[in-house]
Amino acid sequence: MNRSRIILAVAVLMSLLVAGPAAANEWLWGLTYETAVPVGDTKEFSQDSFSWRGMGFEGRSFIYQEMTVGFSVSWNVFHSKLSNQTFSQPGQDLHGTQLRDINAVPIYLNMHYYGGQRYGWRPYFGLNAGTMYAEHRLDMGLYSFREENWHFAVAPEIGIQFPYDRLLGYFSIRWNYGMKSGEIDEVNYFSFRFGIGLR
């Protein structure tokens, strides 16, 4: 199954679920502060070990007492400064201090299954799927080498929602995986999401 078919299938599934059972029909809106740990190609390029820069916005609708469908947009930044680096291409070498950055913006549709009771502690797990914009940038001096790409992306997620009334808090861990796009490396990182929400 190619990527466009996967995306279409996810979109159709979401729309059916949203239009289907009229259960609690309760929406949760959340803002997240996100830290992240890059792995694989993302770690190799960014040379960052831990990112403190990230944020997100999301909405989830309970279509059943235990299940939500929704969407999520995040922004995660990986950054490092490397001194005395040589960047080589055939016939040329550039030496200096490198600033390496990855800006990743995953945009997902998602489904989550919740345990526990309403207003209580609610562990949950789910799957996010969609697309991820990723900018890889290498700055040396006043020069910038930059690549922008869109990747098909998936993100399994586990989390817990704290007891709440009108406001709520939650914490989750996502494994964000943006698949290799043409010649461009995969984007691969774990994000740790501290969220506050409103229902």
Partner: protein, 215 residues
């Protein structure tokens, strides 16, 4: 009660975000961190085959070369040190310096911009062989004001009719002469040295044989 604890949560989260956003680890802290040493070379050239080179003890202002009516605003305080270090680096690589009037394999040129400079890859003549006048046109690179260039040309194989040729090696030290601070001399020395460090192919075979490195 629940609401109050969540308000505390909100405050903590907000504070964390603000602290996180306010920290900028790994940014550029001093001007030397903006220095770039760039070297470009012709991969088809055997640099070991050359034995001699010649150069003029002058650092040309490329802006003035392009526009002869322009004023020369290049900082000249470091010219002698630059020329001496380049000669020292070339000697360390086994290339013998000869006078420009004598036969030589390589011609070395030094230049700098007192304005932002632009180099465009092309086959345009960049150095008129008869007059020693040079005209860089070898890269799609914009250099900032104060960039120092060291160029090597295959002098023996220049065009027999026009006397024109392209550089086979170019070293650029980006922007270092723009503002002469207290550490400009150090940055120049480090940068010129780096040009040669990242160009290990610049080594005359004659020296290698002499030292037993190559049989």
């Amino acid at each position: 009660m629940r609401t109050r604890s969540l308000a505390g949560w909100l405050a903590l989260l907000t504070m964390t975000v603000l602290v996180g956003a306010g920290c900028h680890p790994g940014e550029i802290n001093e001007i030397s961190e903006l220095d770039i040493v760039a070297t470009f070379y012709d991969e088809t050239v055997d640099f070991g085959a050359f034995q001699t080179y010649a150069m003029e003890d002058t650092i040309y202002n490329l802006h003035v070369l392009q526009d002869p009516t322009a004023e020369d605003n290049l900082d000249r305080r470091f010219d002698a040190e630059i020329i001496a270090q380049v000669k020292s680096e070339m000697a360390a690589r086994g290339y013998a310096l000869v006078d420009t009037s004598e036969a030589h394999d390589l011609r070395l040129g030094l230049g700098a911009w007192d304005t932002p400079g632009s180099l465009v890859y092309s086959t345009m003549p960049w150095w008129g062989g008869s007059s020693g006048y040079w005209w860089p046109s070898w890269g799609s690179v914009d250099f900032t004001k104060g960039t120092l260039l060291v160029l090597l040309a295959d002098w023996a194989n220049r065009d027999p009719v026009s006397g024109e040729f392209d550089p086979i090696w170019t070293g650029g030290l980006d922007g270092v002469l723009e503002e002469s601070g207290s550490n400009t001399a150090t940055r120049l020395e480090r940068g010129i040295s780096q040009m040669y460090i990242q160009s290990p192919y610049l080594q005359s075979n004659v020296t290698k044989v002499d030292t037993g490195e190559v049989q």
